[in-house]
Symmetry: C2
Subunit: 139 residues, 2 copies
């Protein structure tokens, strides 16, 4: 998926978010990568060439983006919050060896039914987390 600057700006505006360079940078970066970076990774990456955003601002940007549903938080490992601009339904694969996280297409996993979920629980959505070993970590 390739995104153009203009689309990104329009998307932000459509959510009534002010388009600041920092916010744009955070969102564009998240759209461009697929490894669910942490705040620290974002911070390092964004400031690689030229300083663009402080940590606090990245946190604020992520929060704003999360509130309007453009970004989601991914919690798979202890003590690490990762962020994902892939909003569509998908599952996750976590390499237990190197910690890499990868999106898994929704269609790559059969649809799950909850046969005997206790009555009283109203399920709304679900997600499958698959753990295993990625190719780079295999013998």
């Amino acid at each position: 998926m390739q995104w153009q600057a203009n689309e990104i700006v329009q998307t932000l505006k459509s959510k009534k978010l002010r388009v600041t360079p920092q916010r744009y940078a955070v969102y564009a970066n998240l759209l461009a990568r697929h490894d669910h970076p942490t705040v620290e990774q974002l911070h390092t990456d964004l400031n690689k060439e030229v300083p663009t955003s402080s940590q606090a601002t990245i946190y604020a940007a992520l929060q704003a983006l999360r509130e309007v549903g453009l970004v989601r938080e991914v919690l798979l490992e202890e003590g690490v919050s990762r962020y994902d601009a892939n909003i569509g339904l998908h599952h996750h694969f976590l390499c237990t060896h190197c910690g890499a996280i990868e999106d898994v297409d929704w269609e790559a996993v059969q649809r799950v039914d909850f046969n005997k979920l206790r009555t009283g629980l109203k399920a709304e959505k679900y997600e499958v987390t698959i753990k295993g070993v990625c190719d780079r970590c295999q013998p």
Copy 2:
């Protein structure tokens, strides 16, 4: 599942863990409840009547229990580590309204196959996280 003091002691010994009152208390408490408490909840609960364990000790106990596989960490919500002495395979239900977490029997969910997992990924295990509303939070 009702556990007797002796079983608990034997289980700990079988894992070569020294049986201290604090460790025993943490593990017995986790076995007795099913709400995946946080460290803070454990700390409060254990010291309700009589002070038994400091926070640091609870952390240490949980780590020891986790290393031998008697306890697992459950990560479903932001910034909260929960602990679970239910070691068997099971899924989780998370109430999006009140945050309650509930175990879901492995058999309550059909078995999941990964039809088109990218070649190169070797899946070892999986878990389904279901989000929705529990009965206490329904209108």
